[in-house]
């Protein structure tokens, strides 16, 4: 008899659990918010660290200068205030927002506390030592945990959905402001903690900043803003790409406008363009490609061999645009070849076929197949690009403004990324894109709809590989050296991770994913040894907790798209009349 009643407690447990926390939701949020503000004003370290002042006056006493909070303490203060606002103002899916802000607060406090403890020699550094007290980090941690619990107490509702529509000018304005904010955030991300080794604490400062950014992003996503913005930018995708590109072109004029960051940003751009190409294959058509970086390698090798470098195999020097097109075409042909087994192979097995092709490329390149790769000696001395006598790796002067070295490469690569994004976006909203998504969802049903699945899948591989080949050609000139070492299995996995981390099928996601994966190693030189380990762990955790990625492919609103189409068509008709 007892067996029949066993199942009842199961169904009630979640409700009970929630009711235990529910009455505490608001009070916890209030306490968390207030404690967060208090934490920002308390001192965080009992003494000055060996490598100099822990940034931003962390030994500051409350009444010394209450308005002088900067850096991470400013972030803590902001998070505390936001928690209070979110909890007591009418906020959509309040629980989610408070929880996300709580996580942000916890992360910032944890990173700083942990770093100070490790570097400062023990818990004395963050509690009391020699009569000096510094409980900032502990109060911050408590506040963060309280806010997380408050989030659960208030209840985790589905992400808010914003039904209202806006007129085009307002939408443009929103997009403009949002992208400008993104630009600011990127510049801040690049410059926090200073460049390279100039600040001994840069790694930790950066991590702390990431914690803050994650909290704010999580809150915006919880409110439903990210989803709405994502849909809005897909509706106005041409405008979005232009504005985003324009914003990116302004980066050299911000704090990040120095040679170091121009170089890093250009490298990120190359990988972002490649990742967007991969996103066509993986995100749209649902074909896992584990050897994708080989196409970038093929493009780079083609460009290198026609660049006039001393070790190039062919004695011919082609102008860059021609070489780039050749690189794209050759890579595209290989893409179609690698994709052709899709006619017979599906799913996991296809992933293994692509891996095998990737390995064949690496091995062949390592052994200098046909004399075109130069094996482990690589092809060095590829001349930099130049335009009207300006070499791309030198600095240029525009009127009164002197722009940092590498800025021309940066501009070229921003344009490349913009072009790839446009290709991706246009294809996604087309007959071909719908066919790809249909294949991803259910291949048999797609065939029953008359889609020639084999042809479509090969086309996905071909286009993806072409984009990678193009990016590879730029890579060759930008770095001056092409070695098979740059195109190994781990690079393919990294690109795949960029796509997944950002959100499969989503364009801003691919850029963000590439940015994070290629900025992190620059920023975390302190943790160099652990970089790949963290990377592996991150892949596992993302799949476990957020398999859709950071900026998931927005649920597309057909009517919004339609409106854009009709506007465009009217514009065309009017243009004809005129």
């Amino acid at each position: 008899m007892s067996t029949s009643t066993v199942s009842t407690p199961d169904t009630t447990t979640p409700v009970e659990k929630r009711s235990a926390l529910a009455p505490l939701g608001k009070p916890f949020a209030a306490a968390g918010g207030v404690l967060g503000i208090v934490a920002a004003l308390l001192p965080w370290v009992t003494f000055t660290l060996n490598d100099g002042n822990w940034p931003d006056k962390s030994t500051l006493q409350f009444f010394d200068a209450p308005f002088a909070v900067t850096g991470f303490r400013w972030h803590v203060l902001l998070l505390g205030v936001l928690i209070l606002v979110a909890a007591f103002a009418p906020t959509p899916s309040k629980g989610r927002v408070v929880r996300a802000l709580g996580w942000g607060l916890t992360l910032v406090s944890f990173v700083n506390a942990a770093y100070i403890t490790v570097k400062g020699g023990g818990l004395g550094a963050i509690t009391a030592l020699d009569g000096v007290t510094a409980f900032g980090s502990i109060v911050g941690l408590v506040a963060g945990v309280l806010a997380i619990l408050a989030g659960y107490g208030i209840g985790i509702e589905p992400v808010g959905e914003w039904k209202f529509k806006v007129s085009t000018p307002v939408a443009y304005l929103v997009l403009l402001v949002s992208f400008a904010a993104v630009l600011y955030a990127v510049a801040a991300m690049l410059t926090t903690g200073g460049v390279g080794t100039s600040n001994p604490y840069s790694g930790a400062i950066f991590l702390s900043f990431l914690g803050f950014a994650a909290g704010v992003l999580g809150a915006l996503s919880g409110v439903g803003f990210i989803r709405w913005l994502s849909a809005l930018s897909e509706q106005h995708r041409v405008f979005s790409v232009i504005v985003l590109a324009a914003c990116a072109l302004l980066l050299p004029f911000t704090d990040a406008g120095n040679e170091y960051w121009m170089t890093v940003a250009a490298n990120i751009g190359i990988y972002a363009a490649t990742a967007i190409g991969l996103n066509i294959v993986v995100g749209l058509a649902g074909l896992l490609d584990l050897g994708y970086v080989a196409f970038m390698g093929i493009g780079a090798l083609v460009a290198a061999n026609f660049s006039g470098a001393a070790t190039a195999h062919f004695g011919i020097t082609l102008p860059f645009p021609v070489a780039a097109v050749a690189a794209a075409i050759v890579a595209g042909i290989f893409g179609a070849i690698v994709g052709s087994p899709t006619l017979r192979v599906r799913g996991d097995y296809l992933a293994i076929v692509t891996l095998a092709f990737g390995e064949i490329f690496t091995r062949s390149a390592q052994n200098n197949i046909g004399g075109i790769t130069n094996g482990s000696n690589a092809i060095p001395g590829i001349p930099p690009l130049s335009l009207f006598g300006n070499e791309f790796n030198k600095s240029i002067t525009l009127g009164a403004v002197k722009l940092p070295a590498g800025v021309l490469y940066y501009i070229l690569i921003v344009l490349l990324v913009a072009a790839t994004m446009a290709v991706f976006a246009n294809l996604k909203f087309s007959r071909i894109g719908r066919a790809w998504i249909a294949i991803r969802e259910d291949e048999d049903a797609a065939r029953a709809m008359g889609i020639r699945t084999g042809k479509m899948k090969i086309l996905a591989f071909l286009i993806g590989a072409t984009l990678a080949g193009l990016a590879g050609a730029v890579f060759a000139h930008k770095n001056g050296t092409v070695s098979y070492e740059s195109f190994k299995f781990l690079e393919s996995v990294t690109l795949l991770a960029a796509v997944i981390l950002g959100g499969m099928g989503s364009i801003p996601g691919a850029v963000l994913g590439a940015a994070l994966l290629f900025v992190l190693p620059e920023k975390l030189r302190d943790f160099e040894d652990y970089r790949l380990m963290i990377f592996g762990l991150a892949l596992i955790l993302i799949m476990r907790f957020r398999p859709v990625g950071l900026i998931p492919d927005a649920h597309r609103r057909a009517e919004m798209i339609e409106r854009a189409d009709e506007n465009a068509e009217e514009a065309h008709v009017e243009a004809k009349k005129a």
Binding site: Y349, I360, R363, V493, G536, L539
Partner: protein, 304 residues
């Protein structure tokens, strides 16, 4: 002629090693249709586990192979099983019902993580580490062909263990439960089979075999490095596919074929040993394209 015979012998030994790893792939895929990409790293970790066990032994035991060698096997197997069980419990099990790409990507993550963990945390793992000389030395001479005793041991272990495994799966109650789960997990569950237990057990079996393989690899080649997992894992996976994923007999036979291809291609194909990997990948692609069900698998029927 003697070169050919020698290479055939080498190929069989390679095949025996690959077979031990391939069984882990094939069993896991048979039960939960997951390409456990990290299985090659379980093999690698086991190899380091065996080495660590030896290092931790008191000096007088190190000198007595009869004690040290079994202990190394135990150490390698324990490490492999621990890693496999943790990996199943925390990385794969939560994704049991996720879209198919998710577990595969997780497997890539686990693979990278394990390799890096060993590189960073195992002392001096950045370079090749010598394996202790506790294995039977010398070699068996058959005419002009010399076969190291470790090679003979490896082949013996590999064949013996796969026969035991095959018998267990065919005859025992748990083996029946495994086959039932592989056929239809939902029905098996209704019949009172606990799928979680079956799956963990599958991972454990795979890990035990990989553990044996890891230690024997060190004994046969005398030194180990952190790349061994990826390379041999790919070979083993190829073998499993060649034999027909899910088939024990297929994996073993596939492994011997791959071993032979590797040594013979290294000897006789253009490019020599530099390209022996490439030939294996070519075989892998050809098999997947033209006979995806493998040599011993059943063709998958189109469903509508």
């Amino acid at each position: 002629m003697s070169v050919l015979l020698q290479q055939l012998a080498n190929g069989v030994i390679q095949g025996a090693l690959i077979a031990l790893i391939a069984l882990g792939y094939t069993m896991v895929y048979g039960i939960i249709q997951l390409i456990n990409f990290a299985h090659g790293e379980v093999f690698m970790v086991a190899s380091y586990g065996g080495l660590a066990t030896f290092t931790l032994l008191p000096d007088d035991l190190k000198k007595s192979p009869a004690v040290a060698l079994p202990l190394m096997f135990v150490g390698g197997i324990v490490v492999a099983v621990l890693v496999a069980v943790i990996m199943e419990r925390f990385a794969y099990r939560p994704l049991r019902n996720a879209p198919r790409l998710a577990p595969l990507i997780t497997a890539l993550g686990v693979s990278v993580f394990l390799q890096e963990a060993v590189r960073v945390w195992y002392p001096n793992a950045t370079s090749n580490l010598p394996y202790p000389k506790v294995f039977p030395e010398g070699s068996l001479s058959l005419g002009s062909v010399n076969i190291a005793w470790t090679g003979v041991l490896l082949v013996g272990l590999s064949v013996g263990l796969s026969v035991i495994l095959q018998t267990y799966i065919n005859k025992s109650r748990m083996g029946r439960a495994m086959r039932a789960t592989a056929q239809d997990p939902d029905t098996a569950k209704l019949m009172g089979v606990n799928p979680d237990r079956v799956i963990v057990l599958t991972f454990i079996f795979g890990a035990v075999l990989a553990g044996v393989a890891g230690v024997m690899f060190g004994g046969y080649l005398n030194n180990i490095n952190i790349d061994m997992g990826f390379q041999n894992g790919i070979f083993a996976f190829t073998a499993a596919v060649l034999g027909g994923v899910g088939s024990i007999r297929g994996a073993v036979i596939g492994a011997f074929i791959i071993g032979l291809i590797k040594t013979l291609a290294g000897q006789y194909m253009p490019g020599g040993t530099q390209y022996d990997y490439v030939w294996i990948f070519v075989v892998l692609i050809l098999v997947l394209v033209f006979r995806p069900q493998g040599l011993f698998g059943e063709p998958e029927r189109v469903r509508a």
